[in-house]
């Protein structure tokens, strides 16, 4: 059936389409019933009766819909206007019309013009209202949303869309009286089991770890992080939410002079902890520079920037990385195994966001296995640990009748803008927020 439709829509050989008039508005790309029949007769060399029958079927299955008197699904061999249904609404490409969509459509109709619902539609509406009452909010919201969106279209477009939708629902209205389980068509079920089969097959092929080992690791993790968990063990000098004192946050900022002991200890838990803390990363970089292997970390940072940065800068960044780290004789050449290097260089010809992934992972594991353990044993780290402060726990005074003032902090958005403004005149900057005034919004 669709083959016929596509042929009909062919601009040269297809049915003659004109702008038809419907009441006052002009509908583009419409045709008369007569045209359709004529075309069918000509193209398929059939009789008028057959053409009328075929045309009628096309209307009944929803591929063509009448603009005037849409409820009568007949192909009239006169000059009543018809239109092709957009492929989005073709019966074959659509999943079964769900109750929810139908409810939204009915709600829309009801809102648009009270009393426009025909008898059977009114009945369906009340049945649906009872059945899916718990999501009725959602239905009404979606209906309003769609109406609002459609109001912004040109009148001709709007009428066309309304007709298309109406035609679709005339043919495909779900049987509202059926039980709650939807009719799964074969295609849908096929798709579901196809996906599931692939996933199961893949799962069967994977390596699994014994439960005892996995669960043991949870014990270890919880134990290791116990003292770092403020809800479990409290935090020093005090939990800001309890004492209204932000000291805990100020001593743990990125660029503080001396870090806390807990923070430095955490760097020894895993390589990821070290890299995630900007101060840790900085310290590690200093160490690597001493070892003359700083290019590894620089490369890793550059790759991260590539992976998470703007799409528009990808090609530029890939070039930079190549120039600085991978090209023969590069200033900071990184030592990757030949296979990975080959693959990466090949991939650079068509650069994309993940092109450096293999190389990045290689360098990451290199640092993790080699440089990281040595860093933890180094003098640099040990000094850091010795220098680190252990803040005094603030004595909880029992009778502070006055609640401590809660100070605002500069918004992160402001901080970045301030660094931008540094270049320009520090004119009408945002007002300081060091007082506890309530903002009015």
């Amino acid at each position: 059936m669709e083959r016929v439709i596509v042929a009909m829509q062919d601009p040269d050989m297809g049915v003659k389409m004109r702008n038809q008039r419907l009441l006052i508005t002009v509908i583009p790309h419409a045709m008369t019933g007569n045209d359709v029949i004529e075309w069918l007769i000509q193209k398929y060399n059939i009789t008028e009766e057959e053409a009328r029958h075929l045309g009628g079927l096309l209307v009944q299955y929803g591929y063509i819909y009448p603009l005037r008197d849409p409820r009568s699904l007949l192909l009239r061999s006169d000059d009543s206007p018809y239109r092709f249904q957009t492929p989005y609404f073709w019966t074959s490409s659509r999943w079964p019309a769900s109750e929810l969509d139908y409810a939204i459509y009915l709600a829309k109709k009801n809102i648009r013009k009270q009393g426009e619902l025909v008898d059977y539609e009114k009945e369906n509406y009340s049945i649906l209202h009872k059945r899916i009452n718990h999501t009725w909010d959602f239905v009404v919201m979606q209906a309003r949303e769609q109406l609002r969106a459609s109001k912004q279209r040109r009148k001709a477009d709007r009428i066309v869309l309304e007709c298309q939708e109406q035609a679709y629902w005339l043919i495909n209205k779900p049987c509202v009286n059926m039980p709650l389980y939807y009719h799964y068509t074969t295609t849908i079920q096929l798709r579901y089991y196809y996906y599931t089969t692939i996933i199961h097959r893949r799962a069967l092929g994977r390596n699994r770890v014994k439960s005892s080992i996995c669960l043991e690791s949870f014990m270890k993790y919880s134990e290791q992080y116990l003292h770092h968990d403020p809800i479990m063990s409290g935090c020093l000098p005090s939990n800001p939410w309890i004492s209204d004192d932000t000291a805990h946050w100020t001593i743990n900022t990125d660029m503080v002079g001396t870090p806390t002991r807990l923070r430095v200890e955490r760097w020894s838990f895993s390589f990821m902890e070290l890299l995630n803390d900007s101060m840790g990363r900085r310290e590690f970089m200093i160490y690597l520079e001493k070892e003359f292997s700083a290019e590894n970390l620089c490369f890793w940072v550059a790759c991260e920037d590539l992976r998470h940065g703007e799409s528009s800068k990808i090609i530029l960044k890939v070039e930079e990385v190549y120039k600085n780290f991978l090209a023969p004789g590069a200033a900071r050449w990184v030592n990757i195994d030949s296979k990975t290097m080959e693959r990466t260089l090949e991939g650079i010809k068509r650069p994309h966001r993940f092109i450096m992934d293999d190389a990045q992972m290689h360098i990451y594991f290199l640092m993790k296995k080699d440089s990281y353990p040595r860093y933890l044993k180094s003098e640099l780290y040990k000094n850091m640990l010795a220098k680190a402060i252990v803040p005094q726990e603030t004595k909880k005074s029992v009778f502070p009748f006055m609640r401590r003032q809660r100070h605002s902090s500069p918004s992160p958005a402001m901080v970045t803008q301030a660094t931008e403004d540094d270049g320009k005149a520090k004119g009408a900057g945002p007002t300081g927020t060091s007082s506890t005034t309530n903002s009015q919004i």
């Binding site: 599931t196 439960s211 309890i242 605002s408």
Partner: protein, 407 residues
């Protein structure tokens, strides 16, 4: 369970020769085989391993801040990396950025649609993303000029064919991961609005997602109305693991801090823990007295505690290792819709349909007494005085501790 109409899925390839019954039979046999394989390596239960760990005893949690200002149900919230700011969204279309520490509102945006079911704070703290019934995810840069209309600078990033259920920034401000009622998840480039990757495999609405804190930073987990929790590879778009043990819609998923496991909360009134290396469910957190679904879950920083917000207005706190409940928290007057731990683990915030958000923390026996409770102390201390000849500060503290109990 509903199948949303999504024309995208109509174009996927399906082997024409396999009949439905054959495929179903194959799928079922594979499933049984898989369960057998998984069972082979399951040599011990979590609570057995946890026997050697000390129990936690009863926990007291206290509300430290109550954020009032939303005019309607709070649907979603997210913390800023600065550990004190929060963005929250509600049913009336309002998205508010608070400094939760001072309880001041800093920004407010009115979305053009209602039911804003997803919101996220950008890692830099300079923007927020939100979306819902408008089927889109929009990014609003946070302006410091109070007079500027934030909605003017809005950038539409994601486009789905059904409602947006969850969104999250990846490691930077440049990419957003979204999940939608159309059954798919998608990764978007914020700058251009381009779709970078889409993830197909859920058979019904996807309700939640969470990014993995792993070293390679390339996977995420999503949960949906098809009772499945899927783990995806962000780069290839493939589903690498799938878990189907829940009995109803999965409302929330959250990774364990180490990234080796994740927890899920579902309408079947249970929370479950799935281990990714063992490739199976390892714990169920449920109680016969809990019959309402869990809408959101999160771990404490060490992963020892699991906080679950439920539809019966309560928050249950579970001991992850032992599987027991350590605390039940009241205070909200309607269902808890969202719950997140702060980035440094000092507190957790819960949002509810009662229009408020509450920031909660551990309560201690020895706590600063506020003026409101002073008169109560004086009253009770006088009764103490009649028993004890010498009033001492020690006894004042004792009575104070009884009064400061409670949520």
């Amino acid at each position: 369970m509903r199948f949303s109409i999504n024309p995208e899925m109509a174009t996927q390839e399906v082997q024409p020769n396999e009949t439905l019954t054959n495929l179903k039979a194959e799928s079922d046999t594979l499933k049984t085989k898989l369960e057998d394989e998984r069972a082979k390596l399951h040599d011990v239960e979590l609570h057995q391993v946890a026997e050697k760990v000390d129990g936690l005893g009863q926990f007291i949690m206290k509300t430290r801040r109550t954020l009032k200002g939303h005019g309607n149900k709070v649907l979603c919230m997210d913390w800023c990396k600065d550990k004190r700011r929060i963005v929250s969204s509600s049913q009336d279309g309002k998205v508010i950025v608070w400094d939760a520490f001072t309880t001041n509102k800093e920004h407010a945006v009115t979305m053009p649609c209602t039911w804003v079911m997803a919101c996220a704070y950008a890692p830099s703290g300079c923007a927020v993303a939100c979306g819902g019934l408008d089927n889109k995810c929009s990014v609003y840069p946070l302006s410091l000029d109070k007079n500027e209309n934030l909605a003017a600078k809005k950038k539409s990033v994601a486009m789905h064919t059904n409602y947006l259920s969850a969104c999250s920034f990846t490691n930077s401000d440049m990419q957003i991961l979204t999940s939608s009622g159309d059954g798919t998840c998608a990764l978007w480039d914020v700058e251009s609005g381009q779709l970078l990757q889409s993830f197909h495999g859920h058979a019904a609405d996807v309700l939640c997602l969470d990014l993995a804190p792993s070293e390679t930073g390339n996977t995420f987990v999503s949960g949906g109305c098809d009772k499945k929790a899927n783990v995806w590879d962000m780069r290839s778009g493939q589903c690498i693991q799938s878990f189907e043990t829940h009995e109803s819609d999965i409302n929330s998923v959250r990774y364990y801090p180490s990234g080796d496991a994740f927890a899920s909360g579902s309408d079947d009134a249970t929370c479950r823990l799935y281990d990714l290396r063992a490739d199976r469910e390892v714990a169920i957190y449920s109680k016969e007295s809990i019959i309402f679904g869990a809408s959101s879950v999160d771990f404490s920083l060490s992963g020892r505690l699991l906080f679950g917000g439920y539809n019966d207005y309560t928050i249950n706190v579970w001991d992850v290792l032992k599987g027991t409940r350590v605390s039940i928290l009241f205070g909200h007057e309607n269902r808890v819709s969202t719950l997140r731990l702060s980035p440094d683990g000092t507190a957790f915030c819960s949002g509810s349909w009662d229009h408020t958000l509450r920031v909660r923390d551990r309560g201690y026996h020895l706590e600063p007494v506020t003026s409101a409770t002073v008169c109560l102390i004086l009253v009770s201390s006088s009764s103490c005085l009649s028993l004890m000849p010498v009033p001492s500060p020690f006894y004042f503290i004792r009575t104070a501790s009884f009064i400061t109990f409670g949520p």
